[in-house]
């Protein structure tokens, strides 16, 4: 490939200003893993530069090096043409770099203000810093439409707002180079649009933005140039205008990728699950679900769209049999005509009656991160008779099954003894999917199945879900990705504030209409 950053840059007129960021020969190994290998990258000032690559390609590592979080084994970093030694994040901050990590680095029980000033306080006493920060935050909010309540405790904020706090942190530190690592993974489309408006605004004021994402649509939509990484190496840097999503996908994965979901029209059968008047009041007395009525039929995918935090998680947890402790659940439900107790049941009972569950948070719920892949492969089903050998668990049977499923679901690396923690997010998700799908449930609950997963894996997971539907299973899909909802669902319900705002058919609606309903605008409680 000829289009490396260096050659691309050299081709420019000599009068051009030096790049805002230039990386030369960056290498980094974690033990045996070569996360970055001899990377070169140049980013022009005043542009939005995208970075794409499969899970584990080394994107986050590279940016963390730039931000001084990791130290490279070799290589140089130049800011505005001058070499700088970025020994720690302090140095990066001084060089004007700010970073919004994939996993936020906020203190959950601090207020927004406290999080913003942390590490950038004016003096030994907090009060003056807090006062100044409050004023500056107000200004920043006005300038960039970044409103957040400065006194809110961060853990009470939605992820979208938490991300704003991260951005505010960077801006408060006067960053003019802003790195965002998969910022839209947790955002709703309106939130993502809002973020992009902000990023454009920043760019127009001369800031430089680096954006890591798995969503090629976003790359095409907002970036000026894009770099592709594969297995720790930088394989290409091209102006966005000169490329296509298909070309990028092929560069990333090394093969052709189908970006659309191919599926036949659904052939819905009898209702599998019917839900009427589901209400839930949590331990703090807040009503999270305010009367949900839903029907899911055999052989269809019912997509639930909505901004996260509108009750989807609670809905999935209740149906999955593990409502949060202290919650009060009322309402009626049936599964295949038989009554399904909503309160007082547990997750085991749900699995017994044929409800599978791909949870929203694979790392906190769907997997035990320290368990080996084979142990995770029966998690939740570990009491099923086929995995027992007398009083003991039949580990050989479980291992064999794991080997089989890892092959069938293309889990990489296919090592059943590897701890879940050591798989990339996409492969972790494949393990969960393999487990839940292979149990052949009558109803499959699916929450955010492709969050943070690379396009190769997304394609794969989507295809498996459709296959399952075609085999006659009922699927309840919750996702904040409108694209995903639109591509997969046979029917779409929109959830807002603990209610179903209405139902649409994918062919008969638009992202715009759904977006409005997700924001609570629309026809109220349509049936």
């Amino acid at each position: 490939m000829g289009l490396t950053a260096a050659t691309g840059d050299a081709a420019r007129p000599a009068t051009a200003a030096p790049p805002a960021i230039e990386l030369r020969g960056i290498s980094k190994a974690f033990g045996p893993v070569q996360a970055n290998r001899d990377i070169a990258l140049a980013v022009r000032r005043g542009t939005i530069h995208g970075i794409v690559g499969e899970n584990g390609a080394g994107k986050s590592t590279l940016m963390s090096i730039l931000y001084g979080f990791y130290r490279p084994d070799a290589g140089q970093i130049l800011i505005d043409g001058r070499e700088v030694a970025i020994r720690d994040s302090q140095a990066a901050i001084r060089a004007g770099i700010g970073m919004v990590f994939q996993h936020f680095k906020l203190v959950p029980n601090f207020t927004v203000l406290e999080n913003v000033i942390l590490g950038a306080e004016d003096g030994a006493l907090l009060a003056p810093s807090l006062g100044r920060a409050r004023r500056e935050l107000r200004q920043l909010a006005a300038d960039y439409q970044l409103e957040v309540d400065p006194d809110a405790v961060v853990e009470d904020l939605s992820v979208g707002h938490q991300q704003r706090v991260e951005i505010l942190k960077a801006l408060y530190r006067r960053a003019d180079i802003l790195i965002l690592d998969e910022p839209t993974g947790v955002l709703t489309p309106p939130e993502a649009d809002h973020l992009f408006r902000i990023l454009r605004g920043l760019r127009d004021q001369g800031a430089t933005v680096i954006l890591i994402t798995h969503k090629l649509r976003e790359i095409m939509q907002i970036t000026d140039a894009v770099s592709v990484m594969r297995r720790g190496e930088m394989v290409a840097t091209v102006p966005t205008a000169d490329t296509t999503p298909e070309a990028l996908a092929e560069l990333m994965v090394g093969r052709k990728v189908l970006l659309r979901v191919d599926k036949a029209p659904a052939a819905p059968g009898a209702p599998v699950m019917e839900l009427a008047g589901l209400r839930m009041v949590d331990a703090d007395g807040v009503e999270r679900l305010r009367g949900i009525d839903l029907t899911v039929r055999a052989g269809e995918i019912l997509g639930i769209a909505g901004v996260s935090g509108n009750g989807q998680s609670q809905l999935l947890q209740i149906l999955g049999g593990y409502p949060e402790p202290g919650a009060q659940v009322t309402g009626r439900a049936t599964l295949k005509g038989a009554a399904l107790p909503l309160a007082g049941a547990d997750a085991r009972q749900r699995r017994r009656v044929g409800i599978g569950n791909i949870p929203e948070d694979r790392q906190a719920e769907g997997l035990v991160m320290d368990f080996a892949a084979w142990e995770n492969m029966v998690f939740g089903h570990h009491r099923d008779p086929e995995y027992q050998a007398g009083a003991m668990m039949d580990n050989d049977a479980i291992r064999q099954r794991t080997a089989r499923l890892m092959q069938r679901f293309d889990v990489r690396p296919p090592l059943s003894d590897l701890a879940a923690r050591n798989f990339s997010g996409g492969n972790q998700q494949k393990i969960v999917c393999a487990r839940e799908i292979e149990e052949g449930p009558a109803l499959l609950l699916v929450g955010q199945p492709t969050r943070g997963v690379d396009i190769g894996a997304i394609e794969f997971i989507h295809r498996r879900l459709v296959e399952m539907r075609d085999a006659g299973a009922a699927i309840l899909l919750v996702s904040v990705e409108l694209d995903e909802i639109l591509a997969l669902s046979d029917r779409i319900a929109v959830m807002f504030d603990g209610r179903i705002m209405g139902e649409r058919l994918p062919g008969a609606t638009t992202a715009g209409e759904l977006g409005l309903m997700m924001a609570g605008v629309g026809e109220g409680r349509a049936r």
Partner: protein
């Protein structure tokens, strides 16, 4: 119960509270920064020994206090080295420190003084003397407040007042200063501090050293304030009680005052009423001795909800694995 008895119990509770409070605040500093500390007991013990030994030799209680702090700091350094610098298991390190102090105090005491680990009894300037707070005598006549001030608040050694003053001081530093903000952050999410360009290791060291100083004061108070010399194992489990109080207090300074006072109070009550006669039955003394512990369990079960420890507590901060 008459007023005099009540005052005496409160007075006694205050004295008994002070070492617990100091140790509890020590634990608070360390654990708020994300470093568990079950070595409070050991640090107090070695401080008690060092304070008594040096006070006995020099005749100066202040030299003793300094030595106590120094000895406790030395063990705190061991803990910090193991738990922070080398990212070892914080619980094991704490257990080791307790053993180390228990053995070293007697070993050194025996080879220095030949009294089987005891130090010579301290007299005069080698001990902390009680101080009478200003106006204590004048106010004595005022109903309620007067006796409370004169009998309960006044007449303790300076370290008691230091311990009490440390409560607002701790609260102030933790919640009102840059250092406190960063320290609390490092106990909740060290990565947030790290990405803000502040050294996690340095902050945690600072917190552990502060804990060392406070344990040093607590130990010195035991040996030179409450008693007049060191006796082996004289901390008698107070480090563990302080730990319990810390959890009880949900890692908050003012609640630490409340929790340790409660423990002091329960011990004082059990001291005052060694066997309680309740009509026909006499509660045996063993029950009264165990009463503080039984009550703790009951209070814990009845009134205090789930304790929420600092989120990053007990975990060494590892960036790369």
């Amino acid at each position: 119960m008459d007023l005099a008895t009540l005052l005496q119990i409160l007075d006694s509770a205050t004295r008994l509270m002070a070492p617990l409070l100091l140790a509890c605040l020590a634990g608070l500093w360390s654990e708020r920064a994300g470093v568990f500390d079950i070595g409070l007991e050991g640090k107090m013990l070695i401080a008690a020994f060092a304070a008594a030994a040096v006070a006995a030799v020099t005749g100066s209680v202040w030299a003793g206090l300094a030595a106590g702090i120094g000895a406790s700091l030395a063990l705190a350094c061991v803990h910090a080295l193991a738990a922070i610098t080398f990212r070892g298991n914080q619980l094991i390190s704490g257990v080791a420190i307790n053993f180390l102090a228990s053995g070293l105090t007697v070993l050194l005491g025996q080879s220095w003084f030949g009294l089987g680990g005891r130090t010579p009894s301290l007299e005069g300037a080698a001990r902390f003397a009680p101080v009478t707070l200003p106006g204590a005598e004048a106010l004595r006549g005022v109903p309620v407040i007067g006796p409370l001030y004169a009998e309960v608040l006044s007449g303790h050694t300076p370290l008691v007042y230091l311990a009490l003053a440390l409560v607002p001081a701790t609260g102030w530093v933790l919640y009102r200063t840059r250092f406190g903000l960063r320290l609390r952050a490092v106990g909740e999410n060290p990565a947030s501090v790290d990405t803000a360009g502040v050294s996690v290791v340095r902050l945690r060291w600072a917190a552990v050293l502060i804990a060392g100083v406070l344990c040093g004061v607590a130990g010195a108070y035991l040996a030179t304030g409450l008693s007049a010399g060191f006796v082996k194992e004289m901390t008698a489990g107070r480090g563990y009680i302080a730990l319990a109080a810390l959890i009880f207090a949900n890692w908050r300074p003012w609640r630490a005052l409340g929790a340790t006072f409660l423990f002091g109070l329960m011990e004082a009550v059990a001291n005052r009423f060694p066997s309680l006669e309740l009509g026909p039955i006499t509660v045996p003394s063993m029950v009264m001795t165990a009463l503080p512990y039984i009550l703790t369990v009951i209070i814990l079960a009845g009134f205090i909800g789930r304790a929420t420890p600092p989120r990053a507590g007990g975990e060494p901060y590892v960036k790369e694995r």
